[in-house]
Symmetry: C2
Subunit: 224 residues, 2 copies
DNA sequence: TATTTAATGTGAACCACTTGACAGACACGA
DNA sequence: TCGTGTCTGTCAAGTGGTTCACATTAAATA
């Protein structure tokens, strides 16, 4: 029915919802109509309890005795995660990683379009003016203007680590509501701005630890 | 003193250790000699209790009344995480992302060298033979040979999502002990192989949710 | 050497998340 | 239409991680 985020929802639940959605999208593409908490659990490598519990935070989506309709549950998860609307994005930092992200073809992966790049930014005058996917790289000074005119919701920070906090500050000032931070540092931002971290070097280091300590095998994922 | 991983150590603790290590490395570079749980906590955006508890899983590294010696604690964390040795790595999938990773300059970031690329692989004959950072791209069939001769510890999977499980299977067969998976899918691998996920699209989707539900502001990180 | 100060290390309390078990509800078949 | 089987939704129990308070210990100073 309606969105009813109770008192609190585990962080890990959100990560898993993203995984369930991915599985459902694949099932749908394969032409499967029905599924169950058991099957979803197997694919996501969690328990069936967990799947049902995760879904229960947001409502009732199945029919007892029958399981879930793939199409319906996929739609519901998409709605819950906010992926039934378009999210306007910008990239800050047009180094190698920023360019790769700008060129990434998979932003509009589902039937409903999800993420759209509205601007590319760098501080280096040599980078300004470059064209990527039909978008011209602008100077960081023009960020605020772009955010206002295009209603930008979120930004990806792909600048060198020592510039990441500056980028976050500029984004805050410009009025962005969420940041996906690829720089290996903990950003300081105001309460109202959501931050998610994507850090592959940290992943490598965790991996090193778990290879050395196999008995502490990761019990769950999170993410990122 | 010695590594003494008790019964179990929280997953999140390992993620935080990586962050503490990063902070200590920066402090050291800035010439700071001493620090405290309070200061580390502030930088890592966790509580001082948490810092001390996390460290306590592995031993005693500070002096009461004084705090921690940056140099010592940095070394200890490096040892705990297994970053005082070299890790031999390969990349599977020489698409855009694989190439960017191969070209990444920061693998040897600390005084002790940590990660070293020993091979690059792809299934596409057009990619085989390419040179990146002085390494020649090989066909996936030569993976096992490379793993054996170079004592490869871990691999990065950067193939398209539908090929990721095949890559994981090949790596398992070749005898790799850890996988950093960039493909948006949950890999099925044997118990003994550690897997860490790096998934920026999942990060974007979580971000969308948290922008829509600001009151559920992420209380901690885990990265992924 | 005694005293003071300061910040660690840790056992216990607390809280949140996961696991479990089962009642409830729906579809299907007779 | 009634009975049966099945799988969801959820309340309760258990586990694991975080928070807390404080005793402990080391350095500095007189």
């Amino acid at each position: 029915m309606s969105q009813k985020p109770h008192l609190s929802i585990p962080n890990a639940t959100i990560s898993r919802l993203v995984i369930y959605l991915r599985i459902l999208t694949t099932l749908e593409r394969e032409g499967t109509n029905r599924t169950s908490s058991e099957l979803l659990a197997e694919q996501a490598q969690v328990s069936a309890f967990q799947v049902r519990k995760d879904l229960a935070y947001f409502g009732r989506f199945g029919t007892r005795g029958m399981g879930y309709t793939v199409l319906t549950l996929r739609r519901e998860l998409q709605r819950i995660l906010g992926l039934n609307r378009r999210w306007n994005c910008v990239i800050i930092g047009m180094g190698r990683l920023g360019q790769a992200l700008a060129d990434y073809p998979g932003y509009m992966e589902s039937n409903l379009y999800e993420f759209e790049l509205k601007g590319l930014f760098d501080i280096d005058p040599h980078k300004v003016g470059m064209q990527l996917r039909g978008i011209t790289v602008q100077h960081i000074n023009d960020l605020e203007n772009c955010v206002k005119t295009h209603n930008v919701d979120m930004a990806f920070i792909t600048v060198p680590v020592e510039k990441a906090q500056d980028a976050a500050d500029a984004l805050t000032k410009a009025g962005v509501r969420g940041i996906l931070n690829f720089a290996p540092t903990v950003l300081e931002v105001s309460e109202e701005i959501a931050v998610e971290q994507v850090d592959f070097m940290a992943g490598m280091k965790r991996l090193a630890f778990y290879i050395l300590n196999p008995h502490l095998k990761a019990l769950k994922e999170d993410e990122e």
